[in-house]
Symmetry: C2
Subunit: 302 residues, 2 copies
């Protein structure tokens, strides 16, 4: 497994693979890897001949009061895990390499960045779009794999890719959960053992809304109310949002449509199950805080 720090060297490595007629799959990460990341690596391995993983804790996507400095860094363990998964190259630039002293060009994210996380993390998706665009230029892979756990992020990136004609396919892979249902996240290690029980309220609330949808509830506000009921009962400290939204625009849905096939040519992404590109009825998303830790989870309703 090669580890490359310098953008031009990383690009040369990828273009050499292209010259050999090989497909390259890319998984961008901020390190602190867990089984969720590894599932993306395995998915990329299925879609390409070589897998490149980037490890870069991107300062520009953290707000001034967020956890950039204490974000977990587990470099040695990350490299061991990726090596075991047969990753061909790790791109791990320094912040100085990515953002020189005169750096001043940004990507203004698409509209789909505005709801949900938008008001809670101003500037976050600008930072995400800018670094992902840069990474896509440095690692010109055929396909990049993102986790469904950050559903809005994946939608933002899909729209950026379409709007800016970036030459890469975006693949979405289902969230990996612990046995008790908690969605894996690098930030879960902030949770005290005593908070574990309350943290399960997110997946429980999503489970509740899924059952209600299957039972025929189609009213968006009613579905949101059911989610909030579970979250409040289980005692999260704050609900940033608990929303049932359109899978493409992420805007609220008053009345959920019946699941239908995706129209050809739209920029829906593969939702939920790999290979299933049919358009879901809605996505339920939650952001909630427990003892100062902000947790996200979502579920696709179909």
């Amino acid at each position: 497994m090669r580890v490359i720090e310098i953008p031009k060297e990383a690009r040369a490595w990828v273009t050499a693979r292209h010259a050999e007629g090989r497909r390259v799959g890319f998984v961008p990460t901020m390190g602190a890897l867990h089984e969720g990341h590894l599932s993306l690596v395995r998915r990329a391995r299925d879609l390409a001949d070589h897998v490149v993983v980037s490890i870069f804790v991107n300062p520009s996507q953290f707000g001034p009061n967020e956890d950039f400095s204490r974000y977990p860094r587990t470099w040695e363990s990350d490299l061991r895990m990726l090596d075991r998964e047969g990753v061909a190259m790790v791109f791990a630039p320094t912040p100085a390499e990515m953002y020189g002293p005169r750096f001043s060009t940004y990507v203004t994210p698409p509209k789909v960045a505005e709801p949900l996380e938008g008001p809670f993390r101003p500037g976050h998706f600008q930072g995400v779009c800018t670094v992902v665009l840069k990474l896509f230029q440095i690692i010109p892979a055929q396909v990049a794999v993102f986790g469904q756990k950050d559903y809005q992020q994946a939608r933002v990136i899909c729209d950026m890719v379409a709007d800016l004609n970036l030459d890469i396919d975006i693949d979405l892979f289902p969230t990996v959960r612990d046995a008790d249902g908690l969605a894996l996240s690098s930030r879960n290690r902030y949770l005290a053992p005593a908070d574990r029980g309350r943290s399960l309220s997110l997946s429980r609330a999503l489970q509740r809304v899924d059952v209600a949808y299957r039972d025929g509830v189609r009213d968006g506000q009613e579905l949101e109310r059911l989610m909030r009921q579970v979250l409040e009962r289980d005692g999260v400290d704050a609900i940033d949002y608990a929303a049932v939204v359109d899978p493409l625009t992420l805007l609220p849905i008053r009345e959920l449509r019946s699941p239908g096939a995706a129209e050809p040519g739209d920029r829906s992404m593969p939702a939920a199950e790999p290979g299933d590109r049919s358009m879901p009825a809605a996505v339920a998303l939650i952001a909630a805080r427990i003892s100062g830790t902000r947790l996200l989870d979502n579920r696709i309703l179909r």
Copy 2:
């Protein structure tokens, strides 16, 4: 000469040339071609095996009160000229192809977009950066050639390329002038014959500042005063700016430095003469209006 309207087909054409081991040079234009554009095409031919020219009057770089709808369109004549120059492919997308109904991602231009044109054309460089980034993704050429006539635009694009890790070299080619000194521009056709004389004041003012610099004047404000003197004497209707600025940052220079070699690793672009990458002392730039037509010109001081 191939003419392609569809982005994916244009990209496939370029990547097929790469697969053959050929270098591709790119000249983005808004059509209404003149000898200035053709000089860029010839320069691109010197730098690459195949030349691609785009023709796209980009709506997003025109302000609401600017000349988008009356911007000259000379499609048949453009194609004839490019065919004669041995251009291999013309990329001519429709606005609907470039900006779909849900388009909403933009490039926020680098700091160098703020002075000079910045206050006079709000949003202009955002439109330029966004479309040029899109074009660079659709036409993944090894090199793109821009005219020195739009010096600030070239600087903006160079900084965007560096900041966003775009994999393309930017080449700057000197301004082509009519025999009387007027810098060629598609907008010159807006000038009434009676305005021709006054339009020469821009090149005269730049000539004046160049002579003064060679005569040893090093005071930036004094050099600007000399330019304004010529422009006012010759009766332009308004001077938007007449500035002597740093060639990289485009910020005013109080005291001009002696010409020196460019530091390695900076993102200076080849200034003035092809092949001469030494750092000039300054750039003098003018924007002035004559009977409602806005004219730009500049001169590199070395």
